[in-house]
Every structure is written in structure tokens, then in C-alpha cells.
Symmetry: C2
Subunit: 113 residues, 2 copies
């Protein structure tokens, strides 16, 4: 067997640094492919391919507009990553732990309302 495909889930999609940079470059806005090519300085095919992977796992969403494609980040797709890693976050700062617990509790409240 080989390595888990990059399109399996958010964890695998985001493992590649170039793809994280892509997500960072899109940020909170809506960005076009050529804009990303310019910002990151990598080839257009590479940008399109990376975006295809991110799209496959729902991390980015596209809107067609003529010959342009406007990409935006769908943060919710990263929630599984955040959830998993948050379990271990309490290790590096005890002060933050208490607030972290509070967050979890509040989220639970909100979920069960």
C-alpha cells in the first residue's frame, strides 16, 4: 500500500506547505487564480492543481465568473483538524487550559441548544 492520498481528508490536504500558503494567501477574501500565481510565485498549473486538492476536501470553494474563478476559504472544513489538535493544546500552557475548558463547555452548550 502507498501513502494516504492527499484528497482523503483535510489532514492530508493541508500537510503540504504550498497548500497551506495557498490557503493563507486567500485568507478572508475571494481571490482569483492568477492573483494567487502572482502572490506566491509558483506556476499556474501548480496553483490549479493544489486548489483542486483543497477543493476536493472542501477547504476552498469556487465561484465562476466569466473566465475567472474566485476562490475563498471554507474554514469549517478545517474543524476536524482543529478539534483533534486541541485535545493536546492544553499541554503547553496551563493558564490557557482553563479557558480552553470553558470554550469546550460553551460549545457544548451551544450545540445542545
Amino acid at each position: 500500500m502507498a501513502r494516504t492520498p492527499t484528497t482523503t481528508d483535510a489532514f492530508n490536504a493541508v500537510a503540504e506547505a504550498s497548500r497551506r500558503e495557498l490557503v493563507d494567501a486567500i485568507g478572508a477574501g475571494e481571490v482569483t487564480v492568477s492573483e494567487l500565481v502572482e502572490r506566491l510565485g509558483i506556476s499556474q498549473p501548480q496553483v490549479s492543481k493544489h486548489l483542486a486538492v483543497l477543493r476536493a476536501v472542501g477547504i476552498v470553494l469556487v465561484r465562476a465568473d466569466g473566465r475567472h474563478r474566485w476562490y475563498r476559504v471554507n474554514g469549517l472544513a478545517l474543524k476536524p483538524v482543529h478539534d483533534w489538535v486541541s485535545t493536546f493544546a492544553r499541554t503547553w500552557n496551563s493558564r490557557l487550559d482553563q479557558l480552553d475548558d470553558l470554550l469546550v463547555e460553551l460549545q457544548h452548550e451551544e450545540d445542545t441548544r
Copy 2:
């Protein structure tokens, strides 16, 4: 060029689901290899190999004790993942955002003290 090696950083090491399960299985305690083999039901060589990857990026630490090796999780190694993904966490719950901001502020305070 090929895919980024799994031992490159925490992102790549943790992309594989089996390795995340391994980390979960160790949890907060200190666990032996054979104990993990038993808990996860995967072969001993696989467990050792996965642990080697996790060790390479500092996610787990080992303590030798006779013919046993006690593994424990080093959550700090997951901080980069947590930090990166936290940027996008504010998307999925506005109530949590304000507390998230507070967390960042408190951490900054703590860091600069």
C-alpha cells in the same frame, strides 16, 4: 520531486490516520509498544515504524526501561498545527471568536511577561 516526507514536520507526520490513533492511544499517560499493539490491533513493526515517524518530529518522547520503551505525547510539537488552524477556527462559531481573541491576548500577555 515527490511528496513531502512524513518526517518533515508535525503536519505531515499527523496526516496519517493510524498515527493520530497512536497519539490518541498514548493520550496523557506513558505507554509501552506492546500495549499499543494490543490496543490498536496493528502489527508490532507497524507500531514501531509509526512511532519512529512521530519521534522524528518530536510528537512523542521515549523513555527506556529495560526491554520496554515508554512512550508519551509531547503536545508542544503540535503547537504549529494548532496555531495555523486556529486562524481559520473563527469561521465556524462567532460566539467562540471573542473568547478566542481573549485567549490570544492572554497568551501574548503571558509571553511578554
